[in-house]
Structure formats: C-alpha cells, structure tokens
C-alpha cells in the first residue's frame, strides 16, 4: 500500500493506506483521531466535516491524493484547549443533545465565520443547511453561530 504524508493540525503524519481510503477513515482508524464522525459516507450529512486549507469539506469524500500539499484541521486541532470562539459558544448555548454531529457542525460553523464574520440569520441557515442534526438542535446551533460571531467581532 502506498505511503502518504498528511499535514493534520500542524503535524505531518505518515500513513500506509490503499489509495482510495477516504480521509475520514485515515483519521479515525489509522491516526486514532476519532473526533471526526462517520454519518453517511456520501457527503450528505456533514458529520465528517474538516477544514482543508481553511475550507469546510467532507472527509468521507476526500482521498489523500486530493490533499497533497494541503493542510487539514480537525475538531481536535481547532484550538489547543477547546476555547475557539465557536467551541465556547457551543458550550455557552449548551447545543448538543446526543452530540454526535456536533464536531461537524462546529467545523462547518468555524470555517463559515472565517469567511463571513458578520452573517445574517439567513446566511447562517444557508451555511449550516448541509449538516444534519438528527436530534434537531437546530435552534441552538443557530443561536451558537450568532453568539460565536458576536464573540469574534
């Protein structure tokens, strides 16, 4: 199996995996970083969202070859101590019910707020529409993104 170099959360990692292995499973099974979640495997639910050079992407639908020379960030690396403004807002609002989708929600929200630090309510809804929360904590996700935006400004 080919060896790949992967830059994740500021560290370069080396992994031997078959070339079609999705980044999601590289992270979870090979690098023991299980914060990125498996939900659907076809890019529909957003539970596996990571940042690729700052852009939110679905790690279940990415291969390592597509990440050559790029730098990825996972929920484990979003901040050193869990104090990224989006993480703080998530705690303040107490967003999670089961919590399983929340890493993906946080990664989508944090990339979005980097691009658009002062979003309207409609823009927040559009940005978060791709992430399913099966427990339907949508009201709180919305409030937490608003709060994070105001905390960051």
């Amino acid at each position: 199996m080919p060896t790949y170099q992967l830059k994740v959360n500021g560290e370069t990692k080396s992994v031997d995996v078959s070339e079609d292995t999705p980044v999601l499973w590289v992270l979870r099974d090979h690098l023991d970083m299980v914060g990125t979640k498996f939900g659907c495997g076809i890019g529909q639910c957003g539970a596996c969202t990571i940042h690729v050079d700052g852009t939110a992407m679905r790690s279940c639908s990415l291969t390592l070859a597509q990440l050559d020379g790029k730098s990825i960030t996972t929920i484990e690396g979003l901040s050193e101590d869990g104090t990224h403004p989006v993480q703080e807002a998530w705690k303040e609002v107490d967003v999670p019910q089961c919590g399983y989708c929340q890493a993906g929600q946080i990664m989508t929200a944090s990339a979005f707020l980097e691009q658009n630090p002062n979003p309207t309510s409609e823009e927040i809804k559009n940005a978060m529409h791709g992430n399913i929360c099966r427990c339907a904590s949508y009201n709180r996700i919305h409030r937490a993104v608003e709060k994070a935006a105001s905390n960051m400004s």
């Binding site: 078959s18 299980v34 705690k91 919590g99 791709g130 339907a136 949508y138």
Partner: protein, 741 residues
Amino acid sequence: MSNPSIKFSRRAFMRTSSLAGGGMLIGFNLFNACKPKAAPPVDLAQLNYNDFNAFIKIADNGAVTIFSPNPEIGQGVKTSMPMIIAEELDVAWKDVHVAQGVLDTKNYTRQVAGGSQSIRHGWDALRQTGATAKQMLVNAAAAKWGVDPSECSVKEGVITNAAGASLGYGDVVKEAAQLEVPEDVVLKEPKSYTIIGQDVRNVDIDKITTGKPLYGLDYKEEGMVYASVARPPAFGQKLVSFDATEAKAMPGVIDVITIGDRARAHLNGENRNWSAILSDSDKVVVLATSTWQAMKAKKALKIVWEADNLESTEQHDKILLDLLDGNKFNTLRSDGNVKNAFANADTILERTYESPFLPHNCMEPMNFFANVTDEKIHLVGPVQTPASAADTVADMLGRDVEDIHLEMTRMGGGFGRRLYGDFVFEAAEISNAIKKPVKMVSSREDDMGTGVYRPAIKYRIKAAIKDGKLTAYHLKEAAINSNMYGLIPNFFPAGAIENYQVDAANYKSNITTGAWRAPYTNFLAFAEQSFFDELAEAMEVDRVQLRIDLLKKVDAAADENIQYDPDRMINVINTAVEKSGWGTQPKGVYQGFVNYYCHNTHVAEVANVEIENGKPVVKKVVCVVDCGIVVNPLGALNQIEGGVIDGIGHSMYGDFEFEAGSPKAKNFDRYRLLRMKEAPEVEVHLIQNELSPTGLGEPTLPPAGGAVANALKAATGKRIYQQPFLKNPELLEVPKEPIIG
C-alpha cells in the same frame, strides 16, 4: 404534590462501605431490584454494580463522584439524574464529577433508556439517596462535636454547628461510612432547591466540543479487527451461497466468514421478527484491518440470496385498508355503545390517516465492540437495553451471564433503535467465531436498509354528532406486526365521550418493526388532532373550546386507566392560547392547534405558518409543557425544541417505501431529514408547579405534525391525511386566493 417526607425501606436500595483508599461509597437501587445477598463493592477499580445500579463516592478530600446509572442517548439523564442526587446531598454542582455506570447483568434488569421514564422512576430514590448520605455525614460530624445532629446545618458540602464550628464532608466521611443507615430522612422542600431547577450544561460538553472519544464508534482496543456484515438485502430473503474470492484478495482483508448458527440456537425455532439479526438466514461477514477495507470488501462479495415473500408498500397499503374495512379487530377499550350512537347520529364524520414505515437514522450508525474469550466476554458500545442484550449474548454463546462485562458508551442517538440488541449479538457471534476483539460497524446503507422500523400504520376515526353534541368516537388501528400497547387506548378522548371504542388489527410482515420515538402516538397524535380540527369545523364550534369542553367531562378518578389529568391538560391549553396569541395573529399568519398527553406529560402546541414565495412555511411553534418539576431547564428546553422539530421533520419528509422487500431509500441522498432552513423557531413555556417530574424525551414529538397540518389547512384550505406531507405536494400549494384563516 410532591411529598418531602416520603419514606423508603433503606434495605431495599441502599448500602454504604468504606473505601480502601479512603472515602465512602454509597450504593442505591433505583428500581428496588436489589438482591439482598450480594456484597457491596469496596474498590472503585473493581466496581461492578453487583448490588446497586448507581453510586455516590465521597473521597477524603470531599470530592464527590456520582455514577449515572442509565444509558445516555441524548436525552440528558447523565446530567439530570446526578443533579437530583447532588441537590439532596447538598454539594455544589461544580464539585461533582459525573461518571457513566456500567452494567452487571447478575442483579439488574432496569438500566434502560426508553419510554421517557428515567427521571419519573428515579425521582424519589435519587432524592432519598442524596438525603440519606447527607444525614450520615451530618450524624458523623455531630458525634465528633458531641452535639445533636439537629443543631447542624449544611451548605455545599460543609457542615456547621450551632457554635459556628464547621467540618467538610471529607473530614467526616470515614466515620460516616461506619454509621447505621438512617431510615428517616427529610427531603428538601422544592422552594429550597439550589441545583434542581437551575440551568446545568451537558456533563459531556467539553468532550463533545473537542472531539474526545465518547461514542461506541470511537472505542478501540489493541488487536481489534473490523467487521462489516452482509445481511439479507431484502426482508424475506435467505443466504444460499457466496463467492468471496475477490473480497479476500483485497488489501487489509483478513477473512470472510458466516454467522447465524448461534442466533438460530438462541431462537430455537421461535420467530422474533423485531430483530433483523435474529432471523433464519446466515450473514456473511468481512473481517479487515480497517473499517473502510471491511466495508469496501463487503461490496465485492458475490452473494446469492433466495427470496421468499418479498413485500411492498403497495401491497401493505391494500392489506391495511382491507383490515380497516374488515372485522378482524381486537377491542382495546369500549365504553357505552358506539353502534347505537352511530345509528342515531345526525352527522357522521369518518376519516382515514396513513403513515409509512420510518427508519430511526441515529447519526451514529449501529456498531458494537466484542471480545469473547474463554475467560470472559467484554462488550462495549451504544445500547439502550444493556441487560437484555447481555442475557441474549450469554444464551447465544452458551455462557454464564456472569462472564459478561458490558460498558455503555454515550450514544449518537437512540430513538428506540438501540433498544434492539441485534448489533451486540452480531459482534459477539463474530468475536466468538474468530476469537479476536472485533468492532462491528454498520454503514448508513446497512442501517437504513436492514433496520428495525416504525411500523406503517393506518387509522380510521369515526365520530357521531347528535343535536350538536359529540356522541360517539370510534378509533380503528391497522398496523404492521403489532398494535398500540399499554394505556394508549385510554388516552384522551377516552373518558370524555359516552360512546367510545378503540379497535386494533395487524398484519404480520417479514419487515422488522419496533419502537420509534413515542411508539404509536408519534402518528396517532397527528391523526387524532387533525380529526379534532375537522370535527370542530363539522360541529361549527371553536376548535380549542371543543377540546376544553370534552376535558371538562372527564372524571379521571372514576377510571384508573385514565392517567391524563384533565385540569393539567386544560391549563396547558389555556396557556398555549395565551402565549401563542391564538386567534389574534395578523393577516397572513395561519395557526394550527394541538394538545396531547403521552409518557405522563401534558403538552399543547400552536404552529404558525406563513406564505413565502407562494408556499406555506412553518415559521414558529409555541410549545407549552407540564412535566411537573423541571430538573434541568436548559436540558429540558433542548429536548422539547428537538422533539417538536423532529416531529415536524418526519411528518413533512419521512418517506420510506418498500419494493421487493427492500426500502427504496438507503441513505440521505434519497431519504430526507429536516435540515436547518426547514427548522421553525420553537418557543417553549414550562408550567411551573411542584408536582413530581415526568419525562421529556418523547412527549412533544407526537402532536407536532398535527399542529403543522392544522396550520396548513388554515393557510391552504387543504386537509392532509397522509404522512409524509410532501407525498402529496399539491396539498402544500396555496390557492391564488388564500383562505383567510
């Protein structure tokens, strides 16, 4: 009202012991299932819950650990149950560490997440436990000082006597553990609560927001292999043969095996159609060094399945309608004589309501870890019914249940799916066969395609009106596999109408069905509350007043099966009218009203629909809830908001049809779940009272679809009789001249 002086037999649920490393351990049994002979554990490292199903540990330094007994599926009990103990123990919440309890099948049968019952069942015992521990600590301090315990007071883990001297819990814990357990402790009055009723964050919030391992899918052990299971792709099929040559040649693949013998041995010829794994067919299992390799190699298997009776939704629709037209019913409740009332009616209103199967779609797909060795069986993962899962595994593998050590992980959703332990049985059977630690992981397609579904159901409701009064109500249920259970036939409007009957019939299908968040009522409430709306129109009476007038006729005390409280129901209705501005909305806002009782909680909801770009949009739902004392308002509101939106989402979009024994949708590309832009704002109002608390995981979901359907009727003039609402998109079109609601 709550009774602060309620007494328990201490023998039934409590023991204490000193810890070898210092400190004190108090065990209690929430469900009075304690076996008197078992000895209390004294070493936390060896903690196995042999005696009790929850523990408080107080260390020498005063640190308090509360072990939460019940599985956490997102309903918040891992936070709220320890809060109740901490309140009566009188410690500061910030000083409490919460840990998840594990299961020991030897003595327990009620570590279950289901039916919104954890708080309701635990309320008295959790308070009593905290209060008893506190009294023992006070007694120890009083003895040290040589004063009467009644002269001592406690605040946040510090005991103070009349002279002003004080001792921390840690200072007296060693002595307290040696004392007799007091029988007569006084519980706090609700008005003096300092933790119960406060907003407390999810105890796992830091781990969730930083991606720490928490869920079953995150669990790993050295030497663990991954398993992907090929189950019959259509219900009714069995394995004939397979060719694994290609799969075995793929990278990372360790082996391909079959399982099924153990499940069949356990079944012993019995047909248990609720469990997908416990069927006659063998399954083909790919074992690999990673999840991806296992899932990928499974797709390369060439499997021949033999078909028996492959069912379809088209077939079921006809069968269920035939059942409604026929006479193969069991009567579940009968008051008066509906037949006579219909014969004498001025007007009869009869409507039929239809709903599909629904998959649970927990965000965390089914998975489980098993390591079966000759010495023990180690099981780790997400399951709502750990005790029965362990029992089944023991029976399947011909082992003692004492050999099993089962750890519950936080669950990425439950919704009823994880009540069925098929994924535990599979993992155990695989590990038993290969003698290695294994993680069975289902793909989304496995989960949605070979699940345990909410059964498809049709209701027919018929009402008789005579001299402007409602004289009869006849509810018929035709369902796949099984019918409404327990006290559901006695829910409102039972007791309010002189001639009242509930009949149920079912069709036994190959498709596995089971509990789905608020079983049966999750569709029945839509049918009933839509019917009431139409009934009010037919009777030309106010739709809210119709409900109140009926509730006023109920004498709940006269019938032990009637457990809803008409006064509490009227109160939530009146509060919803007030808070939602019912009937006073500006032009262009169309409202729908519902009220409901299930899982011991009373609810009223008002949905607001507005027209945007020619389409009706659900903008807001006002939800009023009477669940008695609210233990954790922050968590409670999350459950309520989620329940309402989940109810609306599945009513609107939950389309799940079968064709040739297999669901048409197997992933989120074809199965639509409600997303952010479709989520209305939910405004919650909690009724304030001091009644014992009831659950919130389910009760707000069932009526939400009805609230929306009634609001859509007001907006479009069209009445919806079928879920999902999107099935008939023309019903969601607004006529050019909108009806003024």
